[in-house]
């Protein structure tokens, strides 16, 4: 972790005549714009993550119950016995506190411009997004359940943070057709030695079907890394969207839609009924399928019960001449809620068919 305190030397790099010094602008006039920027950032995070996760104050919930039983035909003299469902499993969500600190000397503060100070706030927001992406990645791509102590709640309750279905023998709900799944062998973490061509195509179709067979079918998405875009585009079953600014010819089939220009976070076409997206948070050679429009979102972001402690916020400031420091804090945890809505494939020639998580 890089540490440091901003000094006058740092100010020599970016200065324009139009920048006003904070000392002239008035530090009290910075407070509201920074608070407004943080509020907008938190609202944007909630909105853009809505496809993948919901917010919850809960730390654990039941999951995997089947209503059980059968609806049987009766006559006018019959009365069926009462029935009840099978046992339920549990899912739990971690909850942690993250901090990003910025410091400066008094001399820096006297000479700093408004822009200099606002860039610190921008840095905090960017680090918050990086941390969020990292936690999403861990929740989705780690196949091994995690035991955590719920320290921030004060009671140190032991929680088992479960992943997507990983054959841990926890109950799996049957699908609408009544098909049940073996809890000790059914896994949504698979691997293939085929990194391209028909072998990879077969494995990706199985990946998508692995999610769809649990009745997660609305808005199916296949998330891929930008590094694997060429491989996916070369698959026989892939239909590309037209690139922005290009007029499509009539020589080949194309999917209906336009691929936006942001190269590492955009839809690029369709495959086996799923829309294919490049994503910044998907590691190279990993593929993730889930139903984005299903109301049963795969993930939960656990948030603090107190509204004022949610999102990214300035938790504290320390002024101890000649040093000043500002502490940005975010309290949250990300865990899997609907274990069936999501599946991951690792494509690597040396995998031997055994899934191995990426470096997270």
């Amino acid at each position: 972790m890089a540490t440091g305190t901003h000094t006058v030397a740092d100010l020599l790099e970016n200065r324009t005549a139009a920048d006003r010094r904070v000392a002239d602008f008035g530090v009290e006039n910075l407070i509201q714009p920074i608070q407004d920027a943080l509020a907008a950032h938190n609202a944007a995070v909630t909105e853009t993550s809505r496809e993948l996760m919901v917010e919850s104050e809960e730390r654990q919930e039941t999951y995997g119950a089947d209503v059980g039983g059968d609806m049987t035909e009766v006559d006018e003299f019959s009365r069926t016995p009462t029935q009840k469902g099978v046992r339920k499993g549990k899912v739990a969500y971690p909850f942690r506190r993250y901090e990003y600190a910025v410091g400066w000397t008094n001399e820096y503060f006297l000479r700093a411009t408004v822009r200099d100070m606002l860039e610190k706030e921008l840095g905090a927001r960017q680090r918050h997004l990086t941390r969020l992406r990292s936690e999403i990645r861990k929740a989705i791509f780690s196949p091994v359940n995690l035991v955590v102590l719920d320290r921030l709640r004060g009671d140190d309750l032991e929680l088992t943070v479960r992943r997507l279905l990983n054959a841990d023998n926890e109950p799996i709900p049957s699908n609408d057709a009544g098909v049940s799944f073996a809890a000790d062998t059914h896994t949504h973490y698979t691997a293939t030695t085929s990194v391209s061509g028909t072998g990879l195509e077969t494995a990706l179709k199985a990946l998508i079907d692995n999610v769809a067979e649990h009745d997660h079918v609305e808005g199916m998405r296949l998330n891929i890394a930008r590094e694997n875009e060429a491989v996916v585009r070369a698959l026989p079953g892939f239909l590309a969207y037209v690139e922005q600014g290009i007029i499509a010819g009539t020589a080949e089939d194309r999917a209906q839609g336009v691929a936006p220009m942001r190269l590492n976070n955009r839809p690029i076409g369709r495959f086996h009924g799923a829309e294919v997206w490049t994503r910044t948070w998907v590691p190279a050679d990993y593929y993730h399928a889930y139903a984005s429009a299903d109301r049963r979102k795969p993930l939960v972001m656990r948030v603090d019960p107190l509204q004022q402690l949610r999102g990214l916020r300035i938790a504290s400031e320390i002024h101890l001449y000649p040093l000043h420091a500002q502490y940005y804090e975010a309290r949250f945890g990300i865990g899997v809620r609907n274990r069936t809505n999501g599946a991951v494939l690792w494509a690597d020639a040396g995998s031997g068919g055994v899934y191995s998580p990426p470096t997270l």
Binding site: P143, V144, N145, R163, N166, A167, D168, N169, F181, A182, D184, T185, H186, T187, Y189, T190, T192, T193, S194, V195, S196, G197, T198, G199, T202, A206, D209, N210, E213, E227, N228, A230, V231, R233, A234, A349, G353, V354, Y355, S356, P357
Partner: protein, 93 residues
Amino acid sequence: MAETQKGGIYRVGDEFVDANGNKVKPAKEASTEPPEDPSVIPSEFPGAQVLARNGWTTWAHLEGKGREELIALRGVGDATADEIMAAYAKRSA
């Protein structure tokens, strides 16, 4: 079908573990991989992965290509290009 997949064993670092992180011994199972298309460059061919990342997935992509064209691909350096050329020549012989 989901039930034919290998279930519940994962490799974390050098160890094989189950879903709860307990060490296990990997079971030897028959491969469920489909038979390979002969026109496709197999995954064990030297440089197959980096060629695939550049969209070069079949032997037709390599036909008639020289060293300079290989080096122009993203992720292919001198050593990899030489390796690919040598392996392709051996295959063609």
